[in-house]
Amino acid sequence: MPFVEDPACLSKSRLKSDLVAHNVELPPAGSKKEAYVALHLRHVDQTNAADFSSDDDQEHNVAGGDPEGAKELDPSALTDKDLKALLFKYGVKAGPILASTRAVYEKKLRKLLQSAGEGESNEADNAVLYSDSDEEDVSEKDEEKELEGEQEKKSEALELNQQQCNEDPVKDILKDLLPDTKTSPTGIYATPRRPIKGAAQQPIQYAYPDTPVSPTTLERQEVARRLAPVYVQVLVFFAVMCILFFIFVNVENTNSVVSLLERQNQRPDGEEGIPALDETQDAACGEL
C-alpha cells in the first residue's frame, strides 16, 4: 500500500465500491456517509491489516524457510555478471546475456540448479576427471616413478628376466627417437606395452557422438554405407577389364587361328593342284 487513505476523506461512491469489493453488505440506500465510513473502517481496513500481516508472515516464511532455498539464488534476481558466472560454474559457457537472451539463460540455470541438487557429487567427480592440470600432474608423477624404476632395473640388470631384457632396448630406441616424451601431455610413455594398453582403454575423445548431423550428410552416409568400399570397386573394375581384355585377345586369336586353318586348308589344295597339273602335263607329254 502506497499510502493509507482516511475513509472519511473518500467520496460516498468510492466507499460504496470499496465495500462491494470487500464483499461487505451495503447499508440501506438512504443511509448517510458516516455509516459507510464506519463500515469501511470496520471491514476494509481490517482486511488490509490482515493482508499486511499475512504478507509479513510470507516474507518471514521465505526468509527463514529452508536454508537450501535461500542458498539457491533466484536466477531472475541475479545481475548479468553473476548469472554468467553461475552458469560457468555449472559448465555452461554462456554467450552475451542480453534482454533477448536473459530469459533463456535464467531457465537454463534453473534447470541446472534443480539437477545439481540430485547429482552434486557426480559433478565434483567430473571436475576432477576433466581438469587438465591434475591429469598432467598424475602423468608426471607416473613418469618419475617409472624413471626411478628403470634406474633400479638397470642396477639390477643381472637379475632381469627375459621380458625386461626385451623391454630395455626398445625403451632406449624410443627415447633416442623421441627425446621429449617426458613432456607429452597425452601421457604416452616410451615403454613398449603401456601405450598400447592406454590407447586401448582410453576412449577416443575426438569423437563427438552428439554433434548434430544435417539430413543431407545423413543421406550421403546412408548411400555410402550401401556402396562397396573403394578398393573393392577398384578391384572389380580391374577384374572386369582383365576379362574384357582376355576376351578381346581370344577373339583375335581365334580369328587368326581360323585364318591360319583356312590358309592351311588352301595350301594343301594348291599342292594337290600342282601335281595334278604335273600329271596333266605328263599326260600331255605322253600323248605328244
Binding site: 559457457k93 533477448s100 537472451t101 533463456v104 544435417s214
Partner: protein, 90 residues
Amino acid sequence: MSSTSQKHKEFVAEPMGEKPVMALAGIGEVLGGKLEEKGFDKAYVVLGQFLVLKKDEELFRDWLKDTCGANAKQQRDCYGCLKEWCDAFL
C-alpha cells in the same frame, strides 16, 4: 531422420538476404506473425538470436518455444535450417 522439407532446401540453398522470417523452415504464418510482433521480422534477426545463443540447440529451441510457442518439430526444423545455413555460408 525424415527427409528435409522443400522449404529447408530452398532456405539453405542461398544467402538469406532480406528473406522474411516465414522463409525459415518450421516457421509458418502463425509463428511468423508472432515473431514479427516481437520484432523478429526478418530471417536474419532470428539468425542473430541463434548466433547470440552460440548456436546452442537447447537454448535456441527454448527461446523459440518461449517466443512464439513453436512445437518440437517446428523447433527442430528451424534450428536445423539455421544450423545448416551457418555451416554453408557463415
